[in-house]
């Protein structure tokens, strides 16, 4: 294990950013989101949750796939270059890291998404333990330990020192390259980290959602859940905006569109939301015609379809961003609770 004085963090960031791109939580106009590190960026490691999850680092909201140009009546297709520069994402939380695991299932299984794969290959994740989890957090429910997120490197923030522990080869390599700013940690430091973890676990136990039960969601429940009358009640306040999907660390749906730049056509993909009425719109219309169906789709996907296809892995990680951000105060917790109450009845 290594450590670094908090006062030296900027030196650390500078060093990381020297040869790589560095993404970390930055405050822009009052909101904290992952963004590229610059000398004058307002880095904010205290805010628990960035508004958007850091999934952009691997799966950007919008990315060009290829460009078609026309010259003398001939078409030319130029694929967009794959990411070939190493980068570090610093400060992802346990839930965020788990979100990437979910995305891996989608994008790294055949057929492999080459854009995503290239980013995963070049990206190193430094995960930060959550010092002060909040009331909207329920990562524990999905088996995430926010006190010890497992990524390439795990870091803990204490009063005035940050502990650094590499877990993978990528993590070791990064650590090695930062030798000039990272100091070796001793056993008292190890103990401090253990204490930190224990303190965090204690807080997690106090969180209102921590004991949310997923009972009734595993197993062959597709038809039962799908046909439930509850959806008709639950979706009502939904505005059909895409906030929940865009802040979610695991939502992976995208749309592919063309943009005419005047000099050629760029084919790009961008996040889409299953909450939108034009999601997967086809010539004949849409296969989900009501907001109830769209609402149901999102939660069925997270809690039923995805686990069914991925050895029981839910595609919710309990980050609670939807709890925080839904304009109508809807969220996955309310859905889970509604169904468990239904069970009680």
């Amino acid at each position: 294990m290594k450590k670094i004085a908090k006062a030296n963090l900027s030196a650390l960031f500078r060093l990381i950013a020297e040869n790589r791109d560095l993404y970390l939580p930055v405050n822009v106009s009052g909101q904290v989101n992952f963004a590229a590190y610059t000398e004058d960026a307002k880095v904010d490691l205290d805010t628990l949750k960035t508004v958007k999850s850091p999934k952009d680092a691997f799966f950007p909201q919008s990315e060009n796939l290829y460009t078609v140009t026309k010259n003398d009546g001939k078409m030319k297709i130029e694929p967009e270059a794959l990411k070939d520069k190493d980068f570090v994402v610093f400060g992802m939380k346990g839930c965020d890291v788990k979100g990437i695991e979910v995305l891996d299932r989608v994008f790294l299984s055949e057929p492999v998404d080459s854009f995503y794969a290239a980013r995963r290959a070049h990206g190193t994740i430094v995960a930060l333990a959550c010092n002060e989890p909040e009331e909207s957090c329920f990562c524990k429910v999905f088996g995430v330990d926010c006190a010890e997120p497992t990524a390439d490197v795990t870091v803990w923030m204490a009063e005035d020192v940050m502990y650094w522990k590499a877990l993978t080869d990528k993590g070791e390599a990064l650590t090695k390259s930062l030798a000039e700013v990272l100091e070796d940690a001793d056993s008292s430091d190890e103990a401090a980290v253990e204490n930190k973890k224990a303190a965090i676990h204690k807080i997690v136990e106090k969180l209102p959602y921590s004991n949310l039960s997923l009972e009734g969601w595993n197993g062959d429940v597709l038809t039962e859940k799908f046909d439930s009358a509850l959806w008709e009640e639950l979706y009502k306040p939904c505005l059909a905006c895409g906030t929940c999907t865009f802040v979610c660390p695991t939502c992976q749906c995208y749309d592919i569109k063309d943009y005419n730049t005047g000099n050629g056509v760029q084919r790009y993909r961008c996040w889409d939301s299953c909450m939108y009425s034009d999601f997967t719109m086809m010539a004949h219309g849409n296969n989900r015609t009501s907001q109830m169906q769209r609402f149901r789709q999102r939660f069925m996907h997270k809690l039923v379809y995805f686990p069914a296809n991925n050895q029981g892995m839910y595609s919710c990680v309990g980050c609670g961003r939807c709890v925080d951000k839904c304009p109508s105060a809807l969220n996955i917790v309310k859905v889970i609770k509604a169904f468990s109450k239904e069970g009680e009845r």
């Binding site: 005419n260 000099n263 219309g285």
Partner: protein, 662 residues
Amino acid sequence: MQRVGVFVCHCGSNIAATVDVKRVVEAISNEPGVVHAEDYQYMCSEAGQALIAKAIKEKALTGIVVCSCSPRMHEATFRKAAERAGLNPYMVEIANIREHCSWIHKDIVEATEKAVILARAAIAKVNLNTPLKPGESRVTKRALVIGGGIAGIQTALDIADAGYEVDIVEKTPSIGGRMSQLDKTFPTLDCSACILTPKMVEAAAHEKINIYTYSEVDKVSGFVGDFTVDIRKKARSVDMDKCTGCGVCQEKCPSKKAPSEFNRGLGTRSAIYTPFAQAIPNVPVIDRENCIKFKTGKCGICAKVCQAGAIDYEQKDEIITEKYGAIVVATGFDTIKLDNYDEYAYSQSKDVITSLELERVMNAAGTTKGHLERLSDGKAPKDIVFIQCVGSRCADDRGKSYCSKICCMYTAKHAMLIRDKYPDVNVTVFYIDVRTPGKNFDEFYRRAVEQYGVNYIKGQVGKVIPQPDGSLLVQGVDLLDNKQILKQADMVVLATAIEPDPDVRKIATMLTASIDTNNFLTEAHAKLRPVESPTAGIFLSGVCQGPKDIPETVAQAGAAAVKAIGLLAKDKLLTNPCTAKADELLCNGCSACANVCPYGAISYEVKEVNDHGIREQRRVAVVNSALCQGCGACTVTCPSGAMDLQGFSNLQIISEVDAICQ
């Protein structure tokens, strides 16, 4: 995908001299949809149109772009050509590479580049065109003529003679207009009244003509073939049906100090009056501002003396609503105000008068019973100075930029008449140029000089200085002698510029007829459509379109009549198919579009809509394509884009924007 043919016109050298047409053809050959491109010397010629027809057939074109002159010039030509070749005429787009390109740019590279871009925009647009079919609208077989002067009377007579009903709306109490105020007419010197009065009588007696005098147009709605007009018949205070025109009321009226409009304010009239003896209708009007009864409630003499009991003090303005197929504007002119020309002492001396006032002085029925006398003291003048171009041909805003056209001739007429009747009076004319184009016009002017000894001086007057003895000192210049001239005169006549009747602006707005900076109505084409307004169904007669003399006015009046008759002769008109259309799947039924529609063409229906499988009752907008004129106001008001304009759709305009900006 369309199969587009592009035809680039040389327009002789009009385009080809500044635009490399071959290069244009080459540059657009690879544009999306283009399967054919060629250039030709004159696309609008028969041979050019044949080329287009041939390509349409041989290449199975679904759309064509003609790169040529303005669509305002030949769009119709090419649409017809396409239609003859079996293509929907609305699959034609014009790239204006003449007026908007070759004629204004000098550099051939630059102009060619621009022509290519304009062609690309048109190609992009035509790729999104859809075949359109015109609708039909009915024609009301009745014409309205606004203005009862010689122009209006002639137009009305010609239309009526062709068998159509005509209404004349005249704002003054009698028809006759400016011509009725004139004494003699040039170049024949025949009496104005003698030739006008029979026309007035003929109009009044014509069974197809209905005259509204002392009336004004209040409101106009509708469109070509189907105008609805509100006519305000101002309260005359005299019952037109009862009045016998005996004239006793006018004689007995105690209020006789009102300035006579007919005599240009030189004389007075009674409060109940007909403007002149031959007025049609011969029914007086009570001028309520000067009437003692209306001012004080006492008097009522006219009612007492009227044996027919025609006087009606209670009469109110009446609104008549009538439908018309065509409207002819014949609102005529007035002389400009001379407030900006202090140097001529018009406001300081009664002996400085305008030419139109001189007409009333010279006229036997005028204020001086036809005697030429000074208005200040009634003495016979010995020296008269005429000043030309007062307020005409002026570059600043004191006057008018145009030549008033009639002044040279009427001044020669006045000079000649004075010298004829009073050979001892000296007449001097200060002129800048003497302009006499017209049949027998220059001969007329030369007679004034050679036969009548009128003293023409090339040069202007700088100042007219009233002298203590009542005479006028005229300071001018003789440019040919290079001498300044100081001339004693006892009368000065100003050839005052004419301007369109000030009310025409209001009328043009109601008619949505365009008007130029001088308030002359704009013709649809300066050369080819001189008697039509760009607004369909509106025709122009007389000076409202531009300065002209009586024969020209009468000629134009006839031409306007023919155009109106041509319209009225049709039973149905094809309507412009470029109308708005609502996409009921997107329509919110919010009524915003109906709020901005100037034609009331949008209404709402509650109907069942099948939105990709969802069936529900929705309130949706429906456009009446016969009423819609295609302005597009609704399309921008519609937030969802449900309302679109056929022929100028959102995507079509956007495709043009993209093509230009790329």
